[in-house]
Amino acid sequence: MIRTFLYFLSISLLLAITTQAQVKDSIRIKPLADSIAHKRDTTTRKLVTKPLSKSKDSLVYTTSGGLRLGLDVSRFVVKAFQPYRTDITVQADAQINKRLYGAIELGYNRTSHSDTNYTYKGNGQYVTVGVDYDFLNKKATGEKNMVYGGIRYGFAHNTYESPAYKLHSDYWSSTIEGSYPKTSMTAHWIELIFGLRVEVLKNFFLGWGVREKIMVSNSASDTFQPIVIPGFGTGGKRSQFDVTYSVSYYIPLYKVKIHVPREKPKKQ
């Protein structure tokens, strides 16, 4: 319980730092936003470039698109609470157009547990693929902060076994020993995500997300569900809630066209 509280506290602190960083960002960007909208000046931000063409209703800008590579650090916190679990998750996302980002996540899980009743060993990999939709209205065209909702398709392959287990019966005063052989299973699920990513240093992002995972199909036998399905969570569950906290680095690679509606001149 105390550990839960401490964890909660540390996450809250991290969140506070993130929020603060965002506030600073918006203050810094505000005058820039005005200058872009009205003067189309070159700004101090390198990411903002010249308008490509003029039309009556909108201006087309290009902004730098690239690959954001991240590590989900919340998986290391999971290890502290569930010592039998070792998870590593890397994330990547790339901007497709103004609002849409393609996202992919790769991960590995190893589960190992041993007590007086049974021993368990399992390991597997997973991948999720999907898109994020950015709700945040940008203050500057080069701004990369995101408040997003996303959807993912997840697939996991897991191998697991129970090298030894015991079955007790008090009434029959018996103990039977057995083992469950190495078995492979696959799982498919859908994830719904809400989260944000904030550029705290140049090209360096912190982000958190909450996600609900809904199992679509799971090939594991009902008599022995794996303790952990990589990327999903507890085996045998229909749905699973999860929180992620990631640090990522952004590598600019290409240009993305962005349409900015032109503000109508005010009538005086």
Binding site: Q82, S162, Y171, W172, Q225
Partner: protein
């Protein structure tokens, strides 16, 4: 919105608890039997309480000794594919012997509980001194607290 977020976070931490530490389900896969009084040739069946129920597996310890019961739970033998039980319902009644034939299967209940033996009933054989008839309601004997068997009596 702020509170909703806090609640969401808290549920996440609850979900993060060590699942190998606690066993929240019962590991006992007991066979449940209830007693029914059959009146009007099976048209009216009512639950009935027998005043002095004595129950044990042949050659094993006593489960119940002269107690009033409307239902009983018995633990099938995990060592063999059949087990036999002695059932006496009242001091004046002739005792019956119930023989169960079944298949056994180890089942992983949860990370905290480990494995338990689950049974699938195949046949129930009985003497019919006091028992009139037997009805199997559910063949799957797992950790759900179910009534697998109904014993009918005419008196």
């Amino acid at each position: 919105m702020k509170y909703l977020f806090l609640i969401l976070l808290f549920t996440a931490f609850v979900a993060c608890e060590d699942e190998t530490k606690t066993c929240d389900q019962t590991l006992l896969a007991d066979l449940g039997i209830n007693f029914k009084k059959d009146s009007l040739d099976g048209y009216i069946n009512k639950d009935t309480i027998w005043p002095k129920v004595t129950l044990y597996a042949l050659g094993k310890d006593t489960i119940l000794s002269s107690v009033a019961r409307s239902s009983v739970f018995i633990s099938l033998s995990p060592l063999a594919d059949s087990s036999r039980f002695y059932l006496k319902l009242d001091s004046t009644k002739t005792p019956d012997t119930l023989t169960f034939r079944y298949t056994r299967k180890p089942n992983f209940v949860s990370a905290g509980c480990g494995f338990a033996t689950f049974f699938t009933l195949d046949t129930v054989i009985s003497t019919y001194h006091t028992i009139d008839s037997i009805h199997i309601n559910n063949k799957e004997v797992n950790s759900s607290n179910d009534t697998h068997l109904s014993l009918f009596f005419i008196y």
